[in-house]
C-alpha cells in the first residue's frame, strides 16, 4: 500500500462505556506510520486530601464533538504529517483508576504524534464542554474546573 493513498481519518466518540487504549490505538494505526502516541486521563483517588469515591462526567455532546473536531483541524494545520486522530471521552460514572479520556495520534515519525497528543489534551481541557463532578467520601461533591478552561483566564473570550 502506498503511503499517500490512505486518507487521514478523525475519530470522535463520547460514550458511557468503558474506554480501551488498545481500541483507540488500533483506530489510528496505519501501515505508513511508525508512531502512535496516546494520552490516557484516569480518575484520581484524592483531591486536596479528600478521598474521592467516584466521578461523574456530563457533556454538551454535539458541541463537544464539534469542539474536538476543531482541535483536530488545528492539529492538521500545525502538524502536516499527522495521519489519524482519535478522542474517546467517557461520560457518567467513572470508577477511580479507570480512563475518562483516551487520545491517540499516529504519524510516520514520532515527534509529530508526541507533540500533537500533548496539544490535543491541553486544548481539550480548555475548550470542550465536558464537566466532571467529584464525589467525596463524606458525600459532599464539587464540580471541577480545568485551569485551562479558556474563559477562566481572560477578561474577554
Amino acid at each position: 500500500m502506498d503511503e499517500d493513498v490512505e486518507e487521514p481519518k478523525d475519530f470522535v466518540k463520547i460514550t458511557h462505556n468503558r474506554l480501551s487504549a488498545d481500541e483507540v490505538s488500533q483506530l489510528v494505526t496505519s501501515p505508513s506510520c511508525g508512531a502512535v502516541s496516546l494520552f490516557i486521563g484516569t480518575t484520581r483517588n484524592t483531591f486536596e486530601g479528600k478521598k474521592v469515591v467516584r466521578l461523574e462526567y456530563e457533556s454538551y455532546i454535539p458541541m463537544a464533538e464539534m469542539e474536538i473536531k476543531k482541535i483536530f483541524a488545528d492539529v492538521r494545520q500545525q502538524w502536516l504529517h499527522v495521519k489519524h486522530l482519535a478522542v474517546h471521552h467517557r461520560l457518567g460514572l467513572v470508577p477511580v483508576s479507570e480512563a475518562s479520556v483516551v487520545i491517540a495520534v499516529s504519524s510516520p515519525h514520532r515527534s509529530d504524534s508526541l507533540d500533537a497528543v500533548k496539544y490535543c489534551i491541553n486544548k481539550l481541557k480548555a475548550t470542550v464542554p465536558i464537566w466532571k463532578k467529584e464525589v467525596y467520601e463524606e458525600e459532599s461533591y464539587k464540580w471541577k474546573e480545568n485551569k485551562e478552561c479558556f474563559w477562566k483566564n481572560q477578561d474577554e473570550v
Binding site: 457533556s59 454538551y60 481541557k125 475548550t127 464542554p129 480545568n146 478552561c149 474563559w151
Partner: protein
C-alpha cells in the same frame, strides 16, 4: 420581534436553575449580556456563577458582553459553567 429559543443548562448551572432545558421567549436582536440577564431573571440563583460562565449560541461559544446576537426560533442556547473534561 421575538422568538422562542431552547436554553440548555449543564453541571452547576443546571443544579442552580433546577432544570436541564427549557424554552425561553427572547428578542431576535439581543446582546449576549441582555440574554444572560434575562436567563438570570428566570433563575435568580444563577447570579452566583455569573462571573464564571459563558454562553453557547448554536453550539458556538459567546462571551457575555456587548456582542449582538441575531436569534431565530429553535436556536439552541447553552449556559456553560467552567469545564472540567479530560
Amino acid at each position: 420581534m421575538s422568538c422562542e429559543v431552547l436554553v440548555l443548562y449543564f453541571a452547576k448551572s443546571s443544579e442552580l436553575a433546577g432544570v436541564r432545558s427549557e424554552t425561553l421567549t427572547v428578542s431576535t436582536e439581543i446582546t449576549s449580556q441582555q440574554l444572560w440577564d434575562q436567563i438570570v431573571r428566570s433563575h435568580p440563583s444563577l447570579s452566583a456563577i455569573q462571573d464564571q460562565v459563558v454562553l453557547a449560541v448554536r453550539q458556538e461559544y459567546v462571551a457575555i458582553g456587548d456582542e449582538l446576537l441575531i436569534l431565530n426560533t429553535g436556536d439552541e442556547i447553552a449556559v456553560i459553567p467552567p469545564i472540567s473534561g479530560g
